[in-house]
């Protein structure tokens, strides 16, 4: 196999990754993807009250203090985490059940079932947000916003589970495909019951998929704006919805500081996820 690995300095015909033209496209593309985020973080330290995004006025960390002292923002942050945790737990359970059903059984109307599960992934967010908002309104569930915490978040949690669990199911199903059925048969030959096989053999094999699915569901929930925007009430605000209303009001370094905190949280989560995958493989 020539052309795969060459020690000479000249790039071979198919070593596209060593061609300078392609490399520069990649570099410019990466700058395009990262520059806004880097600039956002830099400007969270900008000592300028109004028009915080235009001119650099010196270094300060006071906007982090301000963000942490903003009660509404912190409440919204707490809501977001609560919603993400509950919706992740339910999404992983529903996702695992769905994945096992699709992987294990042959049944009538299976393609239909499969399509139904995939549908929340493909339909436009706004359609899902609008239809759930109408559903909650028709059921008279909008008043849940006035109930005690965390029950006031019920509508948002239901919405988040509905769009997250199909993703979790997809990830878990991929993991199941590498399961060796002979292990299961061997266990059964040795007298294990159906439940024991599930608990001691299938579940441990699924574990990395469950973790990956959970992290995906968590990030999706933390990330969502559009669907939450439609299903949240005036008293149930999540972090992205709060940031949105702050952006509409005026652009301040405080928003940059709050965003930076969320970006760093997401970064940590991603690296934890990668760590897990590496340990498993």
């Amino acid at each position: 196999m020539f052309g795969i690995k060459r020690s000479s300095n000249k790039a071979g015909p198919f070593e596209y990754s060593r061609k300078w033209s392609l490399r520069s496209v990649f570099l410019i593309g990466s700058i395009f993807l990262y520059a806004p985020i880097v600039v956002l973080i830099v400007f969270s330290f900008n000592d300028s009250r109004r028009g915080g995004n235009v001119l650099w006025k010196g270094f300060t960390t006071k906007y982090y203090g301000k963000a942490f002292q903003n009660d509404e923002l912190m409440l919204a942050f707490g809501n977001s985490i609560t919603i993400a945790v509950i919706s992740t737990i339910v999404s992983v359970i529903l996702g695992a059940l769905t994945a096992v059903v699709l992987w294990r059984f042959r049944f009538p109307f299976k393609p239909l079932y499969e399509g139904l599960v995939a549908l929340p992934i493909v339909i436009p967010e706004i359609c899902m947000g609008v239809s759930l908002a109408m559903f909650f309104s028709a059921m008279g569930w909008l008043s849940t916003g006035d109930t005690a915490w965390p029950f006031n978040l019920t509508n948002i949690i239901i919405a988040h589970i509905t769009f997250s669990f199909p993703f979790a199911a997809m990830v878990i199903r991929t993991r199941l495909q590498s399961f060796n059925r002979e292990m299961e048969e061997a266990a059964k030959d040795l007298g294990a019951s159906e439940f024991q096989v599930f608990k001691d053999i299938l579940l441990p094999h699924m574990k990395p998929g469950l973790i990956a699915g959970a992290l995906l569901a968590f990030t999706l929930s933390l990330d969502d704006f559009v669907i939450t925007f439609f299903t949240s009430g005036p008293n149930t605000i999540t972090f992205p919805v709060k940031i949105y209303s702050m952006v509409r009001f005026s652009v301040t370094p405080e928003i940059n500081a709050a965003s930076t905190i969320l970006i760093i949280m997401t970064l940590i989560l991603t690296f934890v996820a990668l760590r897990y995958q590496r340990v498993d493989s």
Partner: protein, 307 residues
């Protein structure tokens, strides 16, 4: 894979929760807006389904039709740009060394994990008239001017009278920039996975038979990656068509797309039947696009089967 006969109880225990959840919180809500789309407002929050087609007729009004046309156009242009930028980037990742590959993939995926609202908000700083992009362009302009002076070509006035900053916020260009920014990772991944599976020996055969680099790329590389390119185009186009945040924040109400009109019907105008009708139209458009892709896949596998 096993039949459910004899394992009925296990099967139902596993499949019932999902089925009930999706019926209750996905199918029924869509059913409700389907009914509303044929309805009329009786009071502000009460809607009666009278099976009127007025809501759908209103979509055909020139104002709404123009807006839908614009949404398709903006999503189309963004998708094309994403493909042109995404293909070379995917190619670099697919042919990178075994060690570098996961890092390059991570590099592309990381922004995707960052909150969409935050990423869109971050662009406000970049795209403003006094934003960072214009800072870079001004700097380049000044360098070009110096270079021109060095060559003694000032008299030709090749660069115009001075630097005029680009106005991107509130213009279609700004919205396209935003859509490309948030969708690029979606475009790269499917193309990457198609290129990853590619058989290098086909490229080598093409070169051995005397085809040039560009000819090989056009006749072998791109056709081989076509299924990935089609997938990439579809999964870039569908979310782009339904974009709400980008036109809202970067378009500043000047470049509204379908989702912005839907939002207005529900949040401000309180015209739920009309909003439902537009939402369903967007949903049908999505289904048509997905169906087109299935047809493409079917046609392709048939063609390959014959070869």
């Amino acid at each position: 894979m096993q039949d459910i006969s004899g394992k009925k109880s296990v099967f139902f225990a596993f499949s019932a929760p999902t089925f009930i959840w999706l019926t209750l919180f996905f199918v029924v809500p869509l059913g409700i807006i389907w009914l509303y789309s044929f309805g009329e407002n009786v009071t502000i929050t009460k809607i009666e389904t009278t099976w009127t087609l007025d809501n759908y007729r209103r979509i055909l009004e020139p104002e709404i039709l123009q807006l839908i046309g614009r949404s398709f156009w903006l999503a189309f242009v963004s998708t094309v740009i994403c493909l042109f930028v995404g293909f070379p980037m995917a190619l670099v990742i697919a042919t990178a060394s075994f060690k570098a590959k996961p890092w390059l993939l991570l590099l592309i995926m990381l922004p995707f994990w960052t909150n969409l609202l935050i990423r869109t908000y971050a662009l406000l700083n970049i795209l403003g008239t006094r934003g960072r992009l214009n800072d870079v362009l001004r700097w380049l302009y000044e360098r070009a001017e110096q270079f021109q002076a060095m060559l003694g070509l000032e008299r030709l006035n090749l660069l115009g009278d001075g630097f005029t900053p680009l106005t991107l916020l509130g213009t279609p260009a700004g919205v396209i920039y935003g859509i490309v920014y948030v969708s690029l990772p979606f475009t790269i991944l499917p193309i990457y996975s198609a290129l990853e599976r590619m058989d290098n020996s086909l490229l080598e055969a093409s070169m051995d038979l005397g085809a040039g680099q560009l000819q090989t790329a056009r006749n072998i590389l791109i056709p081989l990656a076509m299924s990935g390119i089609v997938t990439a185009a579809i999964i870039t186009f569908i979310p782009a068509l339904g974009q709400f945040l980008t036109p809202d924040l970067l378009g500043r109400g000047q470049v509204d797309m379908i989702a912005n009109v839907i939002e207005r019907q529900f949040k401000k105008a309180n015209d739920w039947p009309f909003g439902s009708a537009i939402s369903l139209t967007l949903l049908y458009a999505t289904f048509i696009l997905l169906a087109l892709r299935s047809f493409y896949d079917a046609a392709r596998s048939k063609r390959e089967g014959r070869m």
